[in-house]
Amino acid sequence: MTSSPANKQALSELDRPNSYIGKVVPRPNLDRLMQGRGLYVSDVELPRMAHVVFVRSPHAHARIVGIDASAAKRMPGVIAVVTGEELAAVITPWVGVLSHLKGLKSAPQSAIAIDRVCWQGEAVAAVVAASRAAAEDAAEAVEVQFQELEAVTDMRSALDPRTPVIHPALGDNLAFERNLDAGAVDAAFVSSDEIVEAEFVFARHTGVTLEPRAVVADWNAAEARLTIYQGTQAPHMVQNLAALHLGLEESQVRVICKDVGGSFGIKVHIYADEMATYALSKLLRRPIKFVADRVESFNTDIHARDHRCKGRIGVKRDGTILAFEIDDLTGIGPYSMYPRTSAIEANQVVNLIGGPYATKNYRARARVVFQNKNVMCQYRAVGHPIACSITEELVDLAAAKIGMDPVEIRRRNLIADDAYPCASPSGLRFELLSHHAAMNKLMTMMDYDALRAEQAALRKKNIHRGIGIASFIEVTNPSAAFYGVGGAKISSQDGVAVRLDAQGAVICQTSITEQGQGSESLTAQIVGSVLGVSMGRVRVILGDTDQTPYGGGTWASRGAGIGGEAALQAAKVLRKNILDVAAAILQSSPSELDIANNAVVNATDGAPRIELRELARIVYFRPDTLPPGIQAELMATRHFVPREYPFAFTNGVQASWLEVDTDTGFVKLLKHWVVEDCGTLINPQLVDEQIRGGVVQGLGAALFEKCIYDERGQLTNANMADYLVPMSGEMPDIDVGHVVSPTAESELGAKGAGEAGTAGAAAAVSNAVNDALKPFGAIITEIPLTPQVILTALKRI
């Protein structure tokens, strides 16, 4: 379903014999993973390596009265039992705030809790032993005496004067508040023919990476250097923070990231237990390995979403949307997460509500509160699913109120495709989007009218199917506006170094990282295309702060757009350098030469002149034969960061076709469609698979996923049997189509695609369920849409 690029002009220079850009080519090195010969952190073993297991709090909020580790220390294989206070000798605490999120506050957090625990699962002590099993045995023998404190669990009452303040020094439980008032909202509601309001509820859920978080930290006291093996999306960020809190220079810390078993934003943060592992290695002067078990993953991997939001929309009878208004509340656990903070999601919700639409009147309030639950932070599509669900469900509710088709009301309000550049009421700047082209394409792909006819026919047979539509925008290619301006040392630029080796093959070092998206592939595709070298002769090195240029990594849908452009520019320089030396060897001029199929050729007729292998041989081994004054430079490095736009917005639209069993409350997903516009498609297959994987994570949120806490702050379903995730049996086939509007910020023109699927999937499903339930007059504005929620709405239970 991939269409050809609309803007051929942008790619014409790259349309060369070895052009891989825009083509489906298999990712390099998949055999390694398919044969079980990858190297995930959980596979890493080092000489003298010991294992750490953390003793974790069973209480959501408690004072640590005493820790008796004497019995544990006597157990076989135990090397050390370390408390928070003892570990504080080698590592400093941190506070998860950023200066551009005005008013955001948080309390100092330690690697291991000192005096007090603030959520169930917070580490109280570390047990280091010769094996993980021995450490687990000993952890059970550590006796911790707790004095339980009242737990703040319900975000709705977190700000009540009677509710205890979790961090008294902060004054209250409000971490962050943002208010926005754009246009003339009150007047717009007064002139609306209809106003619809609803309260939207989004459950807490989490990433459930199949490989749990894992770290091996290796402090070599003789080198005074710490090597950290970690499955992270941002190696240089880890380097910076480990150095900062251990009192080291960044040059003393090397972060190596080999294969990563799933990430999705879970592994873009620094967790207290990871900091503790670095510190333990320094303290004990040996390699220490930490691999979270699944219960620990559920209790300590960041959670996400958990919003309650009141929303209001004003609409004219002709379908014109006059205003949006929201009041959002989210609970983030006891600390703002480090270093990206836990205010970003609510901030994004405020930014993104109403994003696809021309409506100028918009008012928002978002409040972020502390509670005694696991920490919350950025997970795939940060804020987007919340904003998209609220917006798109409000639009559907408004359409129903005025008796208009959901597609029609969107067509009347989506920003016109020729209106760019423009800005949203919240100040987001859009370079070029394609909402209407995307909607038109979606209508064709799904055969909307035929589906509506089928739906009507089935309703007569008491079969209740629904169609749900959701337009969306997605933040990609973030500049320093995301974190850098707030003081976080998280790079927004990326670098790529490309060199021709002595046999004419290409080695490429990039600062973006790979967690399965295809970073390695897209880099090789771009470099091969520009250089005229076959992809099999391009080797990509990533995930090592000692080996790659400095950069941000892979998160926020930034790898292809930013790292890809750096690769393109570095390859262009190397290409020029190769042609310069080729011209000297061939007594020609660079303009008369080109590179194709691993050889320098005539630009005019493509006739081979000299193989790159031979050119490299001369440069590296017989430079004496080059003309005087010629110094070949067969290595080039370039960096890139977008400067014109803070973010490259993408857009798209999703549709869900599903059936609701009104007796059981079960939802059967029948089909899902996505049309999205991420600019230049470097590898259409990889883009489609990012979309599909993202959609399925959104479908999990829509139907299954929920961290269920009781009123005492106990997570009651912290295992994979009770926390439901999408499995193959329940998932539909997903058709993906594209509209291509390249960004002019880069020569490559690529925007990100990693989060678009997740952004709109739940909204499409919610709208489809409400569409299916229309004959019953039931409206549900809560996810996950479990059978219980649906049957309750149908008043069946």
Binding site: L30, M34, T209, L210, E211, G518, Q685, M727
Partner: protein, 161 residues
């Protein structure tokens, strides 16, 4: 009950003799004792399927089986199935279809898929989805995996008309 047991078995065709604690599960035995790290541990309680291996020809969750239970058994892991070439066509289909992203579920997924393909010549998409419903993949959304298994089934039928 806690003293080490001696076990003797075949792993990927090689004889293995080992002293193991009774509580050691097969996944940890393969990973930690034999360094066969292609068998992945995702949930440690039999739900996610990442640790799927074959024992005497049947697929099992190696986190739910104790190493001592494999006395005299023939155990096959992803490394073995790769080296014999038994699943080379399935792996090629996974590659062509990009049916893996992070790859952590992939060894278990391949072994579970091969189990279906050995039992049934013409599984349709629904049957493939059903058979793989015990193998969790967070990255792909499953469709590419279903495609790759379906393509392999079709190709194998073509080779053996």
């Amino acid at each position: 009950m806690t003293a080490p047991h001696f076990i003797s078995l075949h792993v990927n065709g090689e004889r293995v003799d080992a002293q193991v604690l009774p509580r050691l599960n097969l996944a940890d035995f393969l990973r930690e004792h034999l360094k066969l790290t292609g068998t992945h541990v995702g949930c440690e309680h039999g739900v996610c399927g990442a640790c799927t291996v074959r024992v005497n020809g049947e697929i099992v969750r190696s986190c739910l089986m104790l190493a001592v239970q494999t006395q005299g058994a023939s155990v096959e892991t992803i490394e073995g199935l790769s080296d014999t070439g038994e699943i080379a066509d399935l792996q090629a289909a996974f590659r062509d279809r990009n049916a893996l992203q992070c790859g952590f579920c992939t060894p278990g997924m391949l072994i579970a898929a091969q189990d279906l393909l050995k039992q049934e010549a013409e599984p349709d998409r629904e049957r493939i989805r059903e058979h793989l419903a015990g193998n969790y993949c967070r990255c792909t959304g499953y469709q590419a995996i279903i495609d790759a298994v379906e393509i392999t089934a079709q190709a194998r039928r073509g080779q053996k008309p």
